[in-house]
Every structure is written in C-alpha cells, then in structure tokens.
C-alpha cells in the first residue's frame, strides 16, 4: 500500500474536492493482511466515507462537533472540518475482504490479502 499525491491519483477527479486535513495514520502489515489506523477526531460513523476499488482506498470524513450559538474562534489549530487521504492498494490485497470500525475518533481498517498472496513455507526436498 502506498500513498498517492494529488497529481498521480488514478481516481475520478470530476467531483469537486473540498480542502481537507491529512489525517495521521499507522500502517502495519502481517502475513494475512494490512491494518490501517487513522486519527479522525470529530467524525461520526455516518459522516465517514470509505471507498475501495481494485486500486485505490479513499478515506473521507467530515466532523460534526457540538457548537453553541455565536461562537467566535480565538485559537485555531485544526483549521478544516474534514479529513481526506488516498492510498493505492497493491494487487495482492483483496478490497472485497475489508473490515472497518470507528471508535472514539480512531478508524481501524483491515484489508485481507488474497489467498494466493499469503506467504507459504516451501519445503526443500532432499
């Protein structure tokens, strides 16, 4: 799994893309697949949009914060209410075998490897 820059994205760019924060992620690979953790604080389940086709994984989420009326910002470190990050998936990953859970603002996404891509121990005869 590797990250793509805006210029080399293979996905449909006709939809107008809103400016978004790049969420920090952890990516770990083991024998059976890849686990991705992404920090998406403020994003509820219904505003998280995950898309995976054969080549690309798109994580897109919008914050929904409880805000009182007449709010005026005095100190801002998070300057956009949206996260977006795009990864390209390698061939051995099976986008059909994808599971995701969102808990306290952390997305945990698991993509299984296709059976043929799992490492096998090769016996040496002799």
């Amino acid at each position: 799994m590797s990250e793509q820059t805006a210029a080399s994205r293979g996905v449909d760019q006709t939809a107008i893309e809103q400016p978004a924060l790049l969420p920090p992620v952890d990516v770990v690979e083991d024998d059976s697949g890849i686990t991705l953790y992404a920090d998406l604080p403020g994003v509820p389940k219904d505003r998280l949009n995950l898309q995976a086709d054969g080549e690309t994984l798109i994580i897109d989420g919008e914050m929904a914060l409880e805000m009182p009326k007449d709010l005026e910002a005095t100190h801002v470190e998070v300057n956009l209410p949206r996260y977006r990050r795009v990864f390209s998936l390698s061939k051995e990953l099976d986008p059909g075998k994808l599971s995701a859970e969102l808990k306290q603002g952390v997305l945990k996404l698991r993509i299984q490897k296709a059976e043929r891509a799992k490492p096998r121990r090769i016996e040496v005869a002799g």
């Binding site: 990516v27 403020g42 914060l65 808990k103």
Partner: protein, 145 residues
C-alpha cells in the same frame, strides 16, 4: 559543459521546486501530528456567555483524561497507548505517524471564568470543555429611564 558525478539536472530541480510548493500549500500534519502545538490539537472559541475548548484527542478512555482548571489556566493530560504491536512478530510497520505516549497541554484562558460552571464531554475522539463566564462579567443590558 562541466562534467561531474552529480550534474545539475533541470528536471530534478523542477521536481524539487514542485515538492516545495506542494508542501507550502498542503495542510499536512507535522511530525507531532498537527501543524503546531502537539497532541492533542486545540481549538478555542468564545461566546458572550462561555469559553469553549475542543481538544482533538482520539482513541482515549474518557475516564483516563485529566482535566483541570485553575485560575483561568486549563490543563489536559493523559496517555494514549500505541496501536502498533510491541514485538515485531512477523509484522512490518510501514507508516507510523500517530501520536502515542503521555501528553500534557496547558492553555491560558481569560480570567472571567466561573470554576463552578465547567462541563466536559468526550465524543468521537474530541474532548469538549465548556466554561461559563462569571455572572458579573457577562454583558448586561442597562435600562434607561
């Protein structure tokens, strides 16, 4: 033309320039996760009646967050456990950007706050602290006879 082991390459220069421009315009998180300030990132806003603090601290146990308000200074402390496996048992870490470990952030607020009127809630990884201003500090309409 001067021969060198590392000749100036116009395309490489252009590539470097493009990367610099991209970096300048992208809202990418810094080495500490967000552009400045560290973990958790804080947004502060005010209304005539209150001060609202939003701490973007995903993946915590709500009970483990230590929030204190003392003389207009708010402190938020806690610990975030690493999600990555401790022992590299046939697992490869490809990207490791998320914050892990102990954190402590202190922010100075105005001095017209009521320490008895504080509410804190943790939802979807965001800690929202709402502090009411003192009655005496709130704007009041004065009747003219």
């Amino acid at each position: 033309m001067e021969l060198s082991l590392f000749p100036r390459d116009l395309f490489a220069e252009l590539d470097r320039l493009q990367r610099q421009v991209q970096r300048a315009f992208e809202f990418s998180p810094s080495i500490r996760g967000f552009a400045r300030g560290g973990f958790p990132a804080l947004n502060v806003a005010s209304t005539p009646q209150s001060v609202e603090i939003y701490a973007f601290a995903p993946g915590l146990e709500p009970k483990s967050i230590d929030v204190q308000l003392e003389r207009g200074v708010l402190s938020i402390a806690g610990e975030r456990k690493p999600a990555l496996p401790g022992e590299p048992e046939r697992a490869t870490v490809h990207v490791n950007e998320r914050f892990a470990g102990r954190f402590h952030r202190v922010i100075t607020l105005s001095d017209d706050l009521d320490p008895n009127e504080v509410r804190a809630a943790y939802r979807e990884g965001v800690l929202h602290v709402s502090i009411k201003r003192l009655e005496s500090a709130q704007p009041r309409r004065i009747n003219v006879n």
